[in-house]
């Protein structure tokens, strides 16, 4: 097991290297260091000298990938690519183009993102499973049919409409919650209610349908028929057998996304001005602060790979038949 994990970690290194090269190439084709400097220095009275100074200070004066003026190993080391990406592997994100420490910012903004994403995941899971169970329980009735229709309808609505509509009705017309904002500690709850509700509703359509198919697959299996034949009621079979067996795919599905929760939701956070990592990323894109974007790409990749690893491990835990090799 431990050997396996170590191997997976080693496997992650070329992956992350690939990610780094790709993002690096993408962003530096687009934006030369000169552009970055001008972007950050503003519009009024910018001189060539100021641009040079800026690049020098931020380490963007070096060649991109290969330094001909240096000797030996320094040919690789004294380049923007080396200097900027090696530190990423040590999780030292450096300073952003606008001059703030990215690591400190990420640490700070991680929590609001989690505060939205985690309740959304949990409540969403609960609601989706409940709805799916209901659909299975009432299968064949008008209720199931209308729920499926409702699910398809919910799925066909763009998430933007949920956000705009939710803010308009609950925040503006009914005045039940603050329209947007965030606060630390327990005060955050009143700000989180609306985003969480909205993202749960937006997720019901696809979520409930997915769980329904999972349950239906189980319901048609032989052991369920046996259980029913033994005289268990519909509810009992459903909760005791079906739910329990369907939990494996549900759990593993959840585990994959767990690490990615840190990354936050891009749109939701901007709309509700929640200072999480999602809005951090969007801001960085809009301001073309690529030091931040690079860091976020790297972080996202790491978390994704970590999620894959977690899934594998959780498989072995819930299902002893699976062996990691």
């Amino acid at each position: 097991m431990i050997q396996y994990i170590i191997r997976r970690f080693l496997y992650a290194i070329p992956l992350l290297f690939g990610v780094n090269v790709l993002t690096f190439v993408l962003f530096f084709i687009v934006n030369s260091p000169d552009d970055m400097a001008r972007m950050q220095l503003g519009q009024k009275h910018v001189t060539e000298q100021a641009v040079e100074n800026w690049k020098q200070q931020r380490g963007y004066h070096l060649p991109l990938l290969w330094n001909d003026q240096q000797q030996g190993i320094k040919k690789v080391k004294e380049t923007i690519f080396y200097q900027k990406s090696v530190n990423l592997f040590l999780f030292q994100f450096g300073i952003s183009d606008s001059g703030r420490n990215i690591g400190a910012d990420i640490k700070q903004r991680m929590w609001p993102s989690l505060a939205v994403a985690l309740p959304t995941l949990l409540v969403g899971l609960l609601v989706n499973i409940t709805v799916a169970l209901m659909m299975v329980l009432f299968r064949g009735s008008y209720l199931e049919f209308s729920s499926i229709v409702l699910c398809v309808i919910l799925m066909s609505i763009s998430s933007l409409f949920y956000i705009i509509g939710g803010q308009f009705v609950i925040g503006k017309l009914l005045k039940l919650v603050p329209i947007s904002g965030y606060d630390g500690g327990l005060d955050a709850i009143k700000f989180l209610v609306l985003p969480v509700i909205i993202s749960v509703i937006a997720g019901i359509g696809s979520g409930a349908r997915w769980y329904r198919t999972l349950f239906l697959e189980e319901v048609n299996k032989d052991y369920v028929r046996t259980a029913r034949a033994k005289g268990l009621t519909e509810t009992q079979t459903l909760f005791r057998h079906v739910l329990q067996n369907a939990l494996i795919p549900i759990l593993t599905g959840v585990v994959v996304v767990l690490p990615l929760l840190f990354m936050g939701s891009l749109i939701l956070e901007s709309f509700f001005s929640i200072p999480g990592l999602g809005s951090y990323t969007i801001d960085a894109i809009n301001r073309q602060d690529f030091a931040i974007v690079r860091s976020m790409v790297f972080l996202g990749s790491v978390l994704y790979i970590f999620g894959l690893l977690l899934t594998d491990i959780s498989y072995t835990i819930v299902d002893p038949r699976v062996r990691l090799s």
Partner: protein
């Protein structure tokens, strides 16, 4: 049946409790903690976190809104007086100015500008002004600084400035003002005005070279030849030649005092790694100090306990007394205890919160304009009944900025000094109907420009004499755009009859370069195209991102573009220099984006910029305007008009486009605010209850159906 009745019971209690609580003064949507309710806290917002709060670097309006309250340069603009006049802020009086020739002999005030080699400003400071309390000043009993060399152990417990338990203050001296000037010159600081100031202040260039390799903390002791420490409360700045506008720079945060202790304190790597830098935690002398800076969420200003005595002005412009602006005359400043800036990126939530009373002031987004403002018969504007009902106040002011459509004068098609190109430019100037532009895209919030200077700047002319005679006629007491026929005639004269190029026989194609990419921009770009179509010209729009656009401007590849300029200080020089040949963008990397070069204009500019305001200067300004109107390197666009809304509890408001430290004059009636907020924010519960009932109604038959089926399977 029993279970259903239980459920109904539960439901009923729920409804009753909700309805009951609804009758209370419940404010479920209050985004602030209840403890702040009765305090005089001003709530404002920022859409993008400020990039810099270091007064040597910061150079944009949103940053000045903050540091204007924290840092104090020696002079300031009078809050109420118009035209804008300077008055001492931390200085005792206005500076003593003396002129010298090249030999160092003092000259009289009346002497011509050409003979003046140097000007000296002697600034006398008020005594007893102190810095805000700050850990950088904290000393132990032996007189050693407590926090200038933090150990790792100390650093571990520190995450923001609040975590320092000890803070101290000290008196400001002339040394601190000089130190700030030195900081401007340091290459590491990247001050945006460094290059500009090097052109003016004697010895700054040499100083900058001398200290280039030195650390910031070590430069305090190295002298600059042009900046002299006289005594603790006096210092002297020597500038090259005569440059009367220099006094305006002395009223900008660039010249506010900076304590060397602050730089030493903030240069510790351990603090930098935690984003605790001078760029984020200012150390000033002003009425407020930044106590919380979380650019990801909010920034909080609180009263500076060490603030020097300052009083509300007792005189103002005519009519200020009637408007109630002088009621607080002589009262001690500041009035508001605390200012909270909250991150708010979207305009909709901001506007809605403003209407709910959770923000005290708001601009008007173009989408909510109709909701807020209506025009009266004679082009005046007033609030809609909805706004009036809430007691909201409206203030308008024409900004001291200009937006223009520039022609790249280096471009062979539209640029150059030929009669053909000039006529083409003028024809376009007539065709571009900026009045319509203002009406459609800005809800009438702007005035079309007649020349380089915006209203409120010395030399701006109203009435018939002030119109641009090549584009406008005077009629019915107002400027009227010439008819499109005049423009078409100009096109024929230029050799582009009906937009067909005489030489090639093909339609004239012009290129418009822009960095615009917002959702509203499509309509705007379409509109531009339509204006050009009136003359038969095809306008091709080359939209790109901001960096690319800038690059094009620098390399002179742009043809037609739209750009704006916001006044640094209220002097015509600050606008005419945008057309000065020596500031050409392509050749010199300056701000003359149109790359306009006209020998006569340049000569007049050089003459005008060193003059004091007066009839002679006015004459030159008129001449310069006439030249630019004739050559038309710019198509004068518009001057935006700012509309701001304020709630009734917000007082002492007068738009001041130059001053950035006006927070201290403003006043808030917190009790009235609490009242009104309660009134406006009663939560509505019944739809929720209806929803619950509906859900129950759906569930009941389903449960019944299920029961029936369960029974069937049992049997």
């Amino acid at each position: 049946m029993k279970r259903t009745s239980q459920k109904t019971c539960l439901l009923l209690t729920l409804i009753v409790s909700l309805v009951l609580s609804g009758c209370d003064d419940l404010q479920l949507n209050n985004p602030y903690s209840d403890s702040e309710a009765g305090q005089t806290v001003l709530y404002s917002s920022f859409t993008e976190r400020p990039k810099h709060l270091d007064p040597a670097i910061s150079y944009s309006a949103n940053e000045y809104a903050l540091i204007g309250q924290i840092y104090e340069p020696p002079f300031q603009y009078h809050y109420l007086k118009r035209p804008y006049t300077l008055e001492p802020l931390t200085a005792e009086k206005m500076p003593d100015i003396s002129y010298f020739d090249a030999e160092g002999k003092q000259l009289s005030d009346k002497v011509d500008a050409e003979n003046i080699a140097f000007t000296e400003y002697l600034i006398t400071l008020q005594q007893g002004i102190k810095f805000q309390p700050h850990p950088a000043f904290a000393k132990d009993k032996q007189g050693n600084f407590l926090f200038h060399q933090l150990s790792q152990q100390q650093l571990d417990s520190i995450n923001s400035l609040v975590d320092f338990k000890v803070a101290d203050s000290r008196e400001v001296t002339a040394e601190d003002y000089i130190y700030q000037i030195k900081r401007l010159a340091h290459p590491k600081i990247h001050s945006p005005v460094a290059e500009l100031m090097k052109q003016h202040i004697v010895g700054l260039t040499e100083f900058s070279k001398q200290i280039a390799k030195k650390k910031l903390v070590n430069i305090a002791s190295i002298p600059i030849s042009g900046v002299e420490f006289v005594n603790q409360y006096q210092y002297r700045i020597r500038i090259k030649g005569k440059y009367p506008q220099f006094i305006y720079w002395l009223a900008m945060p660039f010249f506010s005092p900076m304590a060397w202790e602050a730089d030493v304190f903030y240069s510790q790597q351990g603090l930098i790694d935690k984003n605790i830098t001078l760029d984020w935690y200012p150390v000033g002398t002003g009425p407020y100090m930044l106590v919380e800076n979380n650019p990801n969420r909010r920034m909080v200003l609180e009263k500076n306990p060490e603030f020097h005595p300052a009083y509300y002005p007792s005189e103002g412009e005519e009519g200020d007394r009637e408007r109630g602006l002088l009621e607080d005359a002589g009262e001690k400043l500041p009035f508001i205890d605390k200012v909270v800036y909250i991150l708010e990126k979207e305009t909709i939530p901001y506007w809605n919160k403003f209407l709910q009373g959770y923000y005290d002031a708001s601009g008007i987004a173009s989408d909510s304009f109709d909701q807020a403002v209506q025009f009266t018969g004679q082009g005046g504007e007033e609030l809609t009944p909805l706004m009036k009902g809430k007691g909201i106040q409206l203030q308008t002011a024409v900004a001291t900025s200009t937006f223009y459509m520039g022609f790249n004068m280096l471009n062979p098609e539209v640029g150059g000094d030929s009669e053909r190109a000039r006529k083409l430019r003028r024809a376009i100037a007539i065709a571009m109907d900026y009045e319509e532009h203002i009406a459609i895209f800005m809800n009438g919030r702007g005035v079309s420009a007649q020349g380089v200077l915006p209203p409120g700047i010395y030399g701006y002319q109203t009435g018939q004499a002030g119109i641009n005679p090549y584009v406008y006629d005077w009629g019915n007491g107002q400027a009227q755009r010439k008819s499109i026929e005049v423009a078409k005639q100009l096109m024929i004269e230029a050799g582009y009859a009906e937009g067909i190029d005489n030489k090639t026989g093909e339609a004239l194609i012009l290129y418009f370069d822009t960095a615009a990419s917002g959702p509203d921009d499509r309509a705007r770009l379409n509109w531009y195209r339509k204006q050009f179509e009136k003359l038969g010209i095809q306008l091709v729009i080359r939209a790109t991102d901001y960096n690319r656009f800038q690059q094009k401007m620098r390399s002179g590849n742009a043809q037609i573009f739209i750009w704006g300029w916001n006044a640094d200080y209220p002097d015509p020089e600050n606008f005419f220099f945008l057309l000065y040949g020596g500031h050409g963008k392509v050749k010199y990397g300056g701000e003359n984006a149109a790359n306009y070069q006209n020998a006569e204009f340049d000569r007049l500019f050089e003459q005008m910029r060193n003059m004091e305001n007066g009839s002679e200067r006015l004459k030159i300004i008129r001449k310069m305007e006439a030249i630019v109107r004739y050559d038309a390197p710019w198509l004068f666009g518009l001057h935006p008009k700012n509309f701001s809304l304020y709630h009734s509890w917000y007082q002492n408001l007068k738009p001041n486009l130059m001053a950035n430290n006006t927070m201290k004059y403003k006043r808030i009636d917190a009790l009235k605010r609490v009242e009104l907020r309660k009134k406006w924010n009663r939560p509505v519960f019944w739809p929720l209850i209806v929803l619950v009932i509906m859900f129950g109604a759906i569930l009941i038959p389903a449960i019944n159906a299920y029961r029936r089926r369960a029974k069937e399977t049992m049997q």
